[in-house]
């Protein structure tokens, strides 16, 4: 598995994964600076830019890029409520926490 790690202007880490599996994901991993140390993963390859996650985020921590896809604008506001995770029709975002307090991300 090869990994390409880049940082864009907003400080978010864009990581491209090349796995032997057919599921390749480009991941936007954002470390939250609040009480939680858990990232929000966005699979840009699967996202269809419908805007549902941004519209229903209760703390408004997500925002839309110029092309309509979401990014985590205010990482410290994320409360890991799972709303984006549940409402996303494309299985393309996850912000939920597991029992240890870390995020559920791609394997």
């Amino acid at each position: 598995m090869s990994q390409k790690v880049e940082k864009d202007r907003t400080g978010t880490i864009i990581r491209e994964e090349d796995s032997s599996e057919k599921m390749t994901v480009e991941v936007n991993e954002v470390k939250t600076t609040g009480d939680f140390d858990a990232p929000v993963y966005i699979y840009y390859n699967w996202c269809k830019k419908c805007g549902i996650c941004v519209a229903f985020c209760p703390t408004k921590c997500l925002a839309r890029k110029a092309d309509g896809s979401p990014y985590v604008k205010y990482p410290e506001k994320c409360i890991h409520c799972e709303t984006c995770d549940r409402l996303c029709p494309d299985f393309a975002i996850t912000g939920a926490k597991d029992k240890k307090g870390g995020a559920y991300g791609p394997k």
Partner: protein, 279 residues
């Protein structure tokens, strides 16, 4: 309710299929598929004991993406195929995913007769008020004055209320929810899967690209918001004044009773014949 995250959903998907999936941007089918997967994952069931059956339609493409025993059958005949599976393997948990046109128009007879027989299966009707896959013809659940490809001046056919229809036909678990209320829907799917008898959930869903665009309902977030604002839970209706209930769709569990189940009755008849033939 156990927390089930997107990683678990990804475990249930077939990654040899082409992703992103075929559904349009903002279509509720993906949300409903995710909720079905969460409901199955929450129960820790053996995947070999679950079969998902579907007919033809946008929503009927769900079995292509989920890694269970799946069957993608003929238009409207999903419940007929599911009846065959259930009678041959009574221990199998059978989930049928159909659309509103698939189940009430083309497969209308299969729906009411499966409800009448009270055969143990879970039917999830993804009700988007239109035939999405074939280009937007009006369906038996298209509302009054709604525009469709075949009703460009507004639809004047009266609608089916799927819940009332199957209650009349004798279904034993009848509920309605929406794609927005995922927690409620997940609980209903778990209850319906554990219910012995014919259980049906009418899921209000959004078709933003065809129905939404033709009827100027706005984008995907606006249609999701309409699901939240235009529905009321049936336990709350008694407390609300009648003017607040105008134009609202009632969600909730409408019927939950126990009746003799078809496969059990069938097994009893087989036992009885065996006993009499031994003498």
């Amino acid at each position: 309710m156990g927390k089930v995250s997107q990683r678990v959903v990804h475990d249930f998907l077939r990654h040899d299929k082409k992703f992103p999936h075929v559904w349009c941007s903002g279509c509720s089918n993906g949300t409903i598929l995710g909720t079905i997967i969460r409901a199955i994952a929450e129960q820790n069931l053996d995947r070999n004991n679950i079969t998902m059956v579907s007919g033809i339609g946008c929503s009927s493409r769900m079995p292509v993406y989920i890694d269970l025993n799946t069957l993608h059958s003929l238009h409207g005949r999903a419940i007929a195929f599911a009846t065959g599976i259930k009678t041959f393997k009574p221990d199998m948990k059978v989930i049928v995913v159909t659309g509103d046109g698939d189940s009430t128009a083309i497969g209308g007879n299969h729906l009411i007769h499966a409800a009448r027989r009270n055969i143990d299966m879970t039917v999830i009707v993804v009700n988007n008020n239109i035939y999405g896959m074939t280009g937007g013809q009006y369906s038996p659940t298209t509302p009054d004055d709604a525009k469709a490809t075949t009703s460009p001046y507004g639809n004047f056919d009266r609608q089916f209320d799927i819940c009332d229809l199957v209650i009349g036909a004798g279904a034993t678990y009848v509920a309605r929810s929406s794609a927005f209320h995922t927690m409620e829907l997940q609980k209903m799917i778990v209850d319906a899967m554990n219910h012995k008898g014919f259980s049906i959930i009418d899921v209000i869903s959004a078709c933003p690209v065809i129905y939404g665009r033709m009827n100027k309902k706005g984008g995907p977030p606006e249609m999701m918001q309409a699901m939240r604002d235009n529905t009321v839970l049936n336990t709350a209706t008694a407390k609300l004044p009648p003017e607040k209930l105008e134009g609202k769709t009632i969600r909730g569990v409408f019927k939950n009773v126990q009746c003799p189940e078809y496969c059990e009755q069938y097994a009893k008849v087989v036992e009885k014949i065996k006993e009499t033939s031994d003498e």
